[in-house]
Amino acid sequence: MVEAFAVASGKGGTGKTTSTLALGMALAADYDVTVIDADTGMANLLFHAGLDDVEITLHDLLLTDCDLPASAAVYDRFGMSVVPCGTSLADFEAADPTVLRDVVADLAADTDVLLLDSPAALGSKSAVLPIVLADRIVIILQPTVPSLSDGLKVQEYARAYGTVTGGVIFNRVRQDEDVATIAEQATRYFDGRTLATVPESDAVRMARRVGKPLLAHAPETTAASAFRSAAATLDIHDGDAIGVADRFRNAVVPERL
């Protein structure tokens, strides 16, 4: 059984990486979860997961002369399998993006839920690829016009490539924002459920600073509870692991920016 999700927003700063790891940890209570930093040009998941000092990352697997198995960049952290990506521009330049599909295919074949932390952009083939390949997307929104507008664009791109919206999460909601009305209005335009409304929280910043996912650093916070609720609402579908792996393996080759 495997289902691949792209956690996307189309706009930076909405908390995609925080959300990806939070959903991953919550889902890991019931499923084998693999989280992959698919933002190979602007990786930051490694900082959120305390993996910034590891030797092997996704970038290494993408080198043409690499003979390492995909498992070499998989780290068991916080009950999940985490695949960080490095931040070196030189490594990004040296990486062969054509290898990415094989790496992800290998990883997809041996997990229940695959979460792809996706680039905050729609401007390149490689940025859109996680949305193209995923079964569903989870859109991370903030209750602002730019965020909602970009979220709608992501949904339309996903629809265009046959990927449906699994739900939306309103993240980083301030205390003085009454997001209930906005969420109700937004359901007219976004498919899937509003999975959660997650309040802005200092705990999120602290978690990032100490290199832990929110659910590991501050599991009792309202924000953590909201992400657990979102994961419970997500309703994972049974999938064909081989089919998903084949999809990645046979996908059109992504190119650099």
């Binding site: 930076g12 083939k125 602002t144 449906v164 359901t187 498919d191 910043r205 999809r247 046979n250």
Partner: protein
């Protein structure tokens, strides 16, 4: 980084260690700062690293941001700065014309909402409100007020226009990126929502089975197959089954 390249060195008018970010933003507002502020986290200095963030201002209002940590810009730069502890701060003034390329030419790339630094780097609601009041109306309308968001979501014509534009963009780029065969049939524009989820998933699986999983050579090969062959492939590849 293009951000730095487009900002000439300004006149240093204030330098402070262990700076309070709220005080820095208030000071910029009070003196109608046009220029930029460099934030260098203390922990970065102590570690011998060179992490720093830059926020540019026009008439005291934040305009654009950049952080050397992963070369992030805009709101992500603000986020990165929020993670980095107490900074050393250098305040520089510049003529507005010197910041023109950042503030006008590449606004979409580097821009931050006027109130974003105050909202995300301080707990000062008064500062947020003051900044919003001082910012040009064109920069706060439709960005960060609840009324504006609700008005946006009530404007079905505007939203439909955004969606149509995105669909057209996705189709155009599909051709550019070689995703043409991944494109599904024209979408309905109405919300299919939760009740339709199962059907939508089924449709999606059908589309993906039909198109998404193939290499370019596979795509060419598929063009020579019959529709019944396609149907078999759909069944074998459907992730929803």
């Amino acid at each position: 980084m293009v951000f730095y390249e487009q900002i000439p060195t300004g006149d240093l008018c204030r330098s402070r260690t262990d700076a309070d970010i709220a005080e820095t933003l208030i000071s910029a507002l009070n003196r109608s700062l046009t220029g930029y502020v460099v934030f260098e986290p203390q922990q970065s200095i102590l570690a011998g690293e060179d992490d720093r963030a830059v926020i540019t201002f026009e008439q005291g209002v934040p305009m654009a941001a950049y952080h050397t940590d992963n070369d992030v810009v805009g709101s992500e730069a603000i986020d990165a700065l929020s993670d980095s502890g107490t900074p050393h701060v250098d305040v520089h003034t510049l003529p507005a014309a010197a910041l023109m390329s950042i503030h006008r030419d590449v606004t979409d790339t580097f821009a931050v909402a006027p109130t974003a630094p105050a909202r995300h780097l301080t707990n000062d609601a008064t500062l947020v409100e003051r900044t919003r009041n001082v910012a040009p109306q064109t920069r706060v309308d439709g960005t960060d007020t609840q009324t504006a968001v609700e008005a946006f979501l009530a404007d079905t014509d505007r939203i439909e226009s955004i969606k149509q534009e995105a669909r057209a963009e996705a189709a155009a780029r599909a051709a550019e990126w070689g995703f043409t065969d991944q494109l599904g049939p024209p979408e309905t524009t109405e919300n299919e929502n939760i009740d339709d989820e199962d059907r939508t998933l089924e449709d999606s699986a059908q589309q993906k089975g039909d198109n998404v999983y193939e290499s370019e050579s596979d795509v060419n090969a598929r063009h020579n197959r019959t529709s019944s062959d396609d149907s078999k492939q759909n069944q074998s590849n459907s992730p929803g089954e």
